[in-house]
């Protein structure tokens, strides 16, 4: 039973990682950049939903929506002002700009909300938990919502990418930017759309993360951000099912090693597994093998 409850917890944490990893992997697949500010968009999402619920007294669903809208706009604005002018620049220059953006978001949050940690209200995801096997296995409402949300997001996103015209445009830009442009696809608009979707997902992830681990501050987003980025690479960066698989596996490994091996070494074990996987399969679990041409 202990194992099962840990497995469920791992699935829940893994779902959060998977949702964040989707943002990383989509942006990487389409804009070919590592968006380090993504983790901080999670934090912004958490703060906006917190304010909407706590200070302005909006209902939970509306405050989650507010966070999503705010983060979507934020993502598009970040892309437009900081990343778009560097479309032709080296990837390192874009990386440093993304890091600058990450500092900017953290410090803005620090100025507005101060550094003292806040307590995320449990009522935002006010779902009762369930107990199975005659009360032996208790699953909290947040865990259920998280796992469910992950499944719904995955299905919707897969349908969007594979069945709609915009999704097709995204796949085209990801495959060959120049050719896509020649076919009349607006590359800039497609990249903006990617950032919009990724940031909205980050907002959801922020709400879920802070509901599961209620203490949060302006630096909350950075560690889950890095872990989710690891998850994206783990599954094969650029691949959407890869992000899902990578996120879930990472979450489960983290929780299980925390429960069975050592609390202190959990992070090291997670990263060690990543290294082993990359050594065996250098492009991640579901990543495409790119052949080198002379």
């Amino acid at each position: 039973m202990f194992f099962l409850s840990n497995l469920v917890n791992g699935l829940s944490l893994g779902s959060i990682y998977a949702i964040i990893a989707l943002g990383y992997t989509m942006v990487y697949g389409i804009a070919k950049m590592l968006n380090f500010a993504h983790g901080d968009v999670i934090m912004v999402g958490a703060y906006v939903s917190f304010c909407a619920f706590q200070y302005w007294g909006l209902p939970p669903v509306v405050s989650i929506l507010a966070a999503m809208v705010f983060c979507t706009v934020l993502g598009v604005v970040i892309e437009g002002t900081a990343y778009r002018p560097l479309r032709q620049a080296t990837s390192l220059a874009v990386l440093i700009t993304a890091i600058g953006m990450s500092y900017l978001l953290q410090n803005l949050a620090l100025l507005i909300f101060k550094s003292d940690p806040k307590n995320y209200p449990a009522q935002i995801i006010g779902m009762p938990g369930i107990s199975l096997f005659g009360g032996q296995l208790k699953i909290s409402g947040v865990t259920l919502v998280t796992i469910l949300a992950n499944v719904v997001i995955m299905v919707l996103l897969t349908l969007f990418i594979n069945r709609t015209k915009l999704g097709k445009a995204m796949r085209c830009v990801s495959e060959d930017r120049g050719a896509a442009e020649l076919m009349g696809i607006s590359v800039n608009r497609t990249i903006s759309l990617t950032f919009a979707i990724g940031s909205a997902l980050a907002a959801i992830a922020g709400v879920l993360l802070c509901s599961a681990y209620p203490i949060f501050d302006p630096y909350t987003g950075s560690m889950p951000g890095i872990k989710a980025f690891t998850a994206a690479v783990f599954g094969g960066i650029g691949s959407i099912p890869g992000a899902m698989v990578g996120g879930l596996l990472l979450g489960i490994i983290e929780i299980l090693s925390r429960a069975y091996i050592s609390t202190q070494l959990a992070d090291a074990i997670v990263f060690a597994v990543l290294i082993v996987v990359l050594l065996v399969k250098p492009t991640g679990l579901l990543g495409k093998q790119i052949r080198e041409k002379v």
């Binding site: 990487y28 590592l34 380090f36 900081a82 002018p85 560097l86 032709q88 620049a89 080296t90 390192l92 220059a93 990386l95 440093i96 700009t97 890091i99 600058g100 953006m101 500092y103 900017l104 953290q106 410090n107 803005l108 620090l110 100025l111 890095i226 980025f229 690891t230 690479v233 960066i237 050592s262 202190q264 070494l265 992070d267 090291a268 990263f271 060690a272 990543l274 290294i275 990359l278 050594l279 250098p282 492009t283 991640g284 080198e292 002379v294």
Partner: protein, 360 residues
């Protein structure tokens, strides 16, 4: 011939600037013109310069994005602290300079060993995958350092992993890090370390091996096809860089009385990367200047109070945008053009005067 002279001038300027800066700082300290906060920054600045120069070897010359450089610094720092504490407690070695030198050598050595161990798997990967694995190693080092306990009793060193029941006095106390460290780092040692790092790295860059490393960066397959041993040269750059980082770490660690492993988080690796990129990737002098400027900058921005890091972030973004956006770049170049032309004319006139006889 021309290129060789250019390199010579570049190296001379690099060394000249570092030495001049050191002398000016010494003069200012002796006359008491330097503020206390700046004086406390001197040794960290030296460490960050060495970190930037060594990372530049990996990122700029070898062309691999490494996001775990602080991990090597952490290995060096804790090794240095343990060695220094051990020498003092077990052998009553009071000679501060000798202890510092031995501690830094040990720090560099162990960081170099870590570099070899990490380099073997890491250098099999490419591009962003290499970046993420170095990041992972950096985090693993930090995590493992949180679980290490070291104590000294008599002449013996005792190691514990996740186990703090050790005899004698604790030098490393797991997640609480190193406590009660004797501060023995000096500015002069920092300066000498910079000079050593510059000599090693500039010589490496301008040697046969350095050219091989750059050839691998520019055209891996072409380099392989002319018989350059790719693994060997990539490893050479990676391990040299790790050794330098370890020595800088030892100096850094011995500059504070307490030190925790979380001081060398992923953020620090990123910070050093920022130095390298802002200084101009592959440009050693640029790395030195950027490391100095960006370590002093947050101190200078103290007047901005709580807006300090905000201003820093905005500056970072603005600098990246202005130096990398083609439109803004062209605009700036047009602004600078008259000044440049002035210099060029003068140079041309001088050149004509020198070679005038030959040309005719």
């Amino acid at each position: 011939m021309r290129a060789k002279r250019k390199k010579l001038i570049y190296n001379a300027v690099t060394f000249g600037l570092v030495i001049a800066a050191f002398l000016i700082c010494q003069y200012m300290i002796s006359t008491g013109q330097m503020t206390r906060s700046l004086r406390n920054q001197l040794i960290p600045i030296c460490c960050w310069i060495v970190m930037a120069v060594s990372l530049n070897l990996v990122v700029g010359i070898s062309g691999e994005l490494s996001l775990g450089h602080a991990g090597f610094m952490s290995v060096g720092a804790f090794t240095g602290i343990v060695v220094s504490g051990w020498l003092l407690n077990a052998f009553q070695m009071e000679d501060v300079t000798l202890r510092l030198v031995l501690a830094m050598a040990a720090g560099g050595l162990l960081a170099g060993v870590a570099g070899v161990l990490i380099g073997i798997p890491v250098l099999r990967l490419k591009g962003d995958y290499l970046a993420i694995v170095t990041l992972a190693f950096g985090e693993i080092i930090r995590n493992v350092m949180d679980c290490v306990y070291v104590s000294v009793e008599g002449q013996g060193l005792y190691f514990g992993f996740l186990n703090n029941k050790l005899p004698g006095t604790l030098l490393l106390n797991g997640p609480n890090g190193a406590v009660g460290v004797k501060k023995i780092a000096t500015f002069t040692a920092g300066f000498i370390l910079i000079i050593i790092a510059l000599v090693v790295i500039l010589n490496l860059i301008n040697s046969r091996s350095g050219r091989a490393i750059m050839a691998i960066r520019d055209a891996r397959i072409a380099a392989e096809s002319v018989g350059i041993n790719i693994t060997k040269y990539r490893m050479m750059a990676f391990v040299t860089s790790a050794i330098m980082a370890g020595m800088a770490g030892a100096l850094y660690g011995l500059n504070y009385s307490t030190l925790v492993a979380s001081k060398f988080k992923f953020d620090q690796s990123i910070n050093v990367l920022v130095f390298v990129v802002l200084g101009g990737i592959g440009n050693t002098l640029g790395a030195v200047i950027a490391a100095t400027a960006l370590t002093v900058l947050p101190e200078m921005l103290r007047d901005f109070g709580q807006y300090r890091m905000l201003v820093y972030a905005v500056l970072l973004i603005v600098i990246m945008l202005t130096t990398n956006n083609p439109t803004i770049r062209t605009f700036l170049d047009r602004l600078i053009a008259p000044v440049k032309r002035l210099f060029r004319k003068k140079n041309a006139a001088e050149l004509l005067k020198q070679t005038g006889g030959d040309a005719q």
